[in-house]
């Protein structure tokens, strides 16, 4: 069995989970193993409802009062029980912050390997080989799980698969899994999730994004970027250093600790392309990057690599866009 676990993100199936469903559907077809989808804990009934048009053999619901909101203690205990009962060959999730928080616990508890942050899957004699980025994304490694493993845990980097490719269908079986949890299992106490800043912008639905990085050198150069964004009708986003320096509020941040976006055009200005930023925007339909360093890693994922001085290019570009209106 291939088991994909859905994560709740404020009432909906997390987009990383949708991508994991695609990975699961492909792995299931390739290896000839049944696909099961597990709706676990927090908001599980609603997630099950949302997953009811996925092509999947078994749709499993596992709920318990003690995991009606997430905790690493509760989720790891619950998943350990599910794994020992169902013995899935592979357990798949998106590489979210929640997964980083509890899936290693399951790896240690169930004594099974966890291959995290996978970017692609290939097959060698029908054995899946998983690729991960290592050494600051300068190198990629192929990883194989030992064939003696009963179960292997997998998490996929955002946009490793596209949620557009989910195969539709309907579940053949709907199963309720009963969990055995005790209050003493949950040692931690969690407070409600919160955002620091009152205002926020949903960059995930933006069609056009102009994103700014450390390369603008000074906060004084922000109006120039705002003028470009306004001429294009684009939202402004940024990399982490710009937020850390207080030039833009944190809700403008794209990357692993910010938002994950996939606009029609992502125009990056003065961003070098550290992996933490790239995971948040590489799913963009088109990427145009302006940077004076022709070795900048951002150019490896760009469709258009503009090599030059942003201080000269941006004002001129803004002017020309206004003329073309």
């Amino acid at each position: 069995m291939i088991l994909v676990i859905l994560e709740n993100q404020r009432g909906n199936i997390h987009v990383f989970s949708q991508e994991a469903v695609v990975a699961g559907q492909q792995l299931s077809t390739k290896l000839g193993l049944d696909l099961s989808i597990l709706c676990l804990g927090e908001n599980a009934s609603a997630l099950k409802e949302q997953a009811s048009n996925y092509k999947v053999k078994n749709l499993i619901l596992a709920q318990h009062d003690l995991i009606s909101s997430y905790s690493a203690d509760g989720y790891s205990k619950a998943l350990d029980q599910i794994i020992s009962e169902l013995s899935p060959k592979y357990v798949l999730m998106g590489h979210s912050y929640m997964v980083r928080d509890f899936l290693p616990r399951v790896s240690a508890k169930s004594d099974v390997p966890f291959i995290s942050d996978i970017i692609s899957v290939t097959y060698h004699d029908n054995v899946p080989i998983f690729a991960r980025q290592v050494f600051n994304a300068k190198i990629v490694t192929n990883i194989q799980a030992d064939s003696n493993n009963n179960t292997t845990l997998l998490s996929f980097q955002s946009a490793a698969f596209s949620s557009d490719n989910i195969e539709a269908g309907s579940p053949e079986n709907q199963i309720d899994f009963s969990l055995n949890l005790d209050t003493s299992d949950i040692r931690s106490e969690s407070e409600p999730e919160f955002q620091e800043s009152a205002s926020s912008v949903d960059l995930t639905t933006a069609e056009l994004i102009v994103s700014v990085g450390r390369g603008i050198d000074s906060q004084d150069n922000l109006p120039m970027i705002e003028a470009l964004a306004s001429a294009m009708g684009a939202e402004i986003a940024s990399s982490r250093p710009v937020v850390d320096m207080g030039w833009l509020p944190s809700y403008r941040q794209v990357g692993s600790s910010g938002q994950v976006v996939s606009p029609k055009l992502y125009l990056s200005v003065g961003i070098s392309g550290a992996i933490q930023h790239v995971v948040g925007m590489k799913g963009s339909k088109n990427i145009m990057a302006i940077n004076k360093d022709k070795e900048a890693p951002i150019f490896e994922i760009a469709d258009y690599a503009v090599i030059g001085d942003l201080m000269e290019i941006v004002p001129k570009l803004t002017e020309e866009i206004q003329k073309n209106k």
Binding site: A72, P104, R105, Q133, A137, I139, S188, V260
Partner: protein, 255 residues
């Protein structure tokens, strides 16, 4: 309170990384090893907790690897203020996070640490699992991506960074293993007094004992393939901007 800080020596960002002839590891001889960035924040957090408690708390720097790769990082941790060190000598390039965590746990269990702090992930292998795995193996409570900590009423409160600008406070009983996000504090530099004093601090040397077979293995390293066809746009500012306008207007139809 007895606090362990897991630190790792990793290739510096500027180091050139070459795949070695086995194709399963890199050529370490041309690499400059430095402390993993988020681990230095974890150490600073441990030192600040000790200073706030102002009791007989102890901060222990724990590092695994070969002597040549790790000795500078370990010395630096002691110079910054850690009370003693544990050096787990391991000349293999083990890459299975669970095997690595088992080696650590074997060596740490007798120490009965109240708190283990670690960076959220290493910038070389980047699995982001070690601190959590060790927490589970040693039956500790765990939290990840801490960007603020408070010791209150015999517990640790951790402000966790979630996705998309969201946060959450979790309170954990001791013993606890917490991974720390970069940017949580301002790591100190070692003082001259600290550097001189570091030489007299105790470092316990232990050999890594292989605990089980690796459940996952690197089978081949390779350079990233660029799948995209990238159009380079260079020239004078006028040439560049004119090509950009052409693309935005005619190819992408966004203006």
């Amino acid at each position: 309170m007895k606090i362990a800080v897991l630190t790792k020596a990793i290739p510096s960002y500027e180091s050139s990384i070459r795949i070695d002839s086995s194709e399963k590891w890199i050529d370490e001889s041309i690499v400059n090893f430095v402390v993993n960035e988020s681990d230095s924040y974890a150490l600073e957090e441990a030192l600040q907790i000790k200073e706030q408690l102002n009791d007989n708390s102890e901060v222990v720097v724990v590092i695994m690897g070969s002597e040549s790769n790790t000795s500078k990082v370990l010395k630096d941790g002691l110079a910054k203020g850690a009370d003693r060190g544990i050096f787990i000598k391991n000349d293999t390039s083990e890459t299975d996070p669970l095997s690595i965590a088992k080696i650590f746990s074997e060596q740490l269990k007798e120490e009965s640490f109240d708190l283990i702090l670690s960076g959220l992930q290493s910038d070389d292998l980047g699995s982001g699992q070690t601190g959590v795995l060790i927490g589970e193996l040693l039956n500790m409570s765990t939290a990840t991506l801490g960007i603020e900590t408070k010791i209150e009423d015999g517990k640790i409160k951790v402000k966790r960074e979630l996705e998309s600008g969201w946060f959450q406070w979790v309170t954990l009983p001791f013993p606890a293993s917490v991974s720390i996000q970069s940017g949580i504090n301002e790591p100190r530099y070692p003082s001259l007094k600290g550097i001189m004093g570091a030489k007299r601090k105790e470092v316990k040397l232990v050999d890594a004992q292989s605990v089980s077979d690796s459940k996952q293995k690197f089978i081949k390293l390779f350079l990233p393939k660029t799948e995209k066809v990238t159009e380079k746009i260079e020239g004078t500012v006028d040439e560049i901007v004119s090509r950009m306008i052409d693309i935005l207007k005619n190819n992408l139809k966004v203006i």
